[in-house]
Symmetry: C2
Subunit: 235 residues, 2 copies
Amino acid sequence: MLIPGRSDRYTQDVFRGLDDSERTILDAMRSRSISRPPNRVIAAQGEIGIGLLVVSEGWAMRYREADGRRQIVDFLLPGEIIGLQAALLGVMEHSARSLTALQLSVFETRLVRESFEKAPNLALRLARYAAAEACRIEEMMTVIGCGEALERIGYLMLSLYRRQSLHREVDPRDCPFPLRRQHLADALGLTGAHINRMLNRLRDEGIAAVHGRRLQILDLPRLEQIAGLNSAAPG
Amino acid sequence: MLIPGRSDRYTQDVFRGLDDSERTILDAMRSRSISRPPNRVIAAQGEIGIGLLVVSEGWAMRYREADGRRQIVDFLLPGEIIGLQAALLGVMEHSARSLTALQLSVFETRLVRESFEKAPNLALRLARYAAAEACRIEEMMTVIGCGEALERIGYLMLSLYRRQSLHREVDPRDCPFPLRRQHLADALGLTGAHINRMLNRLRDEGIAAVHGRRLQILDLPRLEQIAGLNSAAPG
DNA sequence: CGCCAGATTGAAATCATTCAACCCCTGTGG
DNA sequence: CCACAGGGGTTGAATGATTTCAATCTGGCG
């Protein structure tokens, strides 16, 4: 078992169940809702004051880039937030880009500071969200640092499947998965060619298959075993 | 240039320059100061309520372990905090272990909740600290995912040198570096044997050398070039 | 129909691991 | 003061995983 924990379980609806005064502050800061086509830069490394962007529909990714190389740090699914780290640090230390068509709720940057001053519960939620995200990154880092190609891929498949399951009923035998080979490669520290070979293996062995933009998990227990994320995990 | 950013620069003294009321809360929560010998477990994955441990002297590390494999997620230097993520998530998702003899200031777990309720400035500092740490991890993840062995080692050397420089004057030609080959290996996703070969290369080329528990940076510009962390970096 | 990005594949090359052997401190006990 | 033990450190050779590169294929789309 490569990864004993399961950082997924911390994922939460940050803005659900706030009290009235907190909801008032939150609503006051919601400036608008915007949409973006697939594969567009949402915010670039170095930008300031982009606000908080809450994904309401679609997938995006956070990544760092240099030298023609790219590391995808995390994927962003519905309910997740772009720009919280930037709001706390003052500047985007990574870029964000849409993978699919995207629907975003925009909140003003000062929401963060205001919530710390006037809405401690909301502030705590934001902090917990940030911590959960950090925890997930650390788990991913462990998989990249310790795991072989197949383990990495299996882990990412499961992680993304589970994150989707938290928000809506998802069929493991056919769930959204809008990532190209190169996305998997850049997220996992591998090459597209090698990803392809490993995906072939998973398909040929009847474990999992990536079709167009869908993932089919054909043998969940075996995939969990490969990923090292088996059900013996705490939680 | 592999890494355009330099997350080091966000490192801060979390508890410096608070106002009186905030300092009162902080002092009320400081329970004691403890010391630990080198190479001891400070807190283990799965523990709850360990409090906030502020390193006042010595080095430690945060790591995840499974299957006989280990990923060192981060090192902890004087001024840095063990247990903030655990305080926010409710449980340690990694373990922490001393590298050298360690001096720790212990704060009660409820400091976090109390500060969010009564000391918004302090809470914001904690959140910023967490964000800065997360940013550093993401940078490290990028180096592991995109960089070759030599780049990874060079990056880690520079990063640790710079983090030390933030708190005290440090001589790059002879600074503390209490990491064995295996620590470097587990932090960078490599093996001890390969680390050794790469360290030989850095020494033979007059770039950097790791002696007992010291690091000698002999050619800083060249090391920066190797690490991809050159001075063109913003900030 | 033609185009093009992405997918697929094979063969060669490279990087890193493995494994086993040996070395070299350093600390400890006699 | 020496012998010994043990944990790292060091090294080479063989192996293995992944990359590279180039060529070919494919499917979606204007």
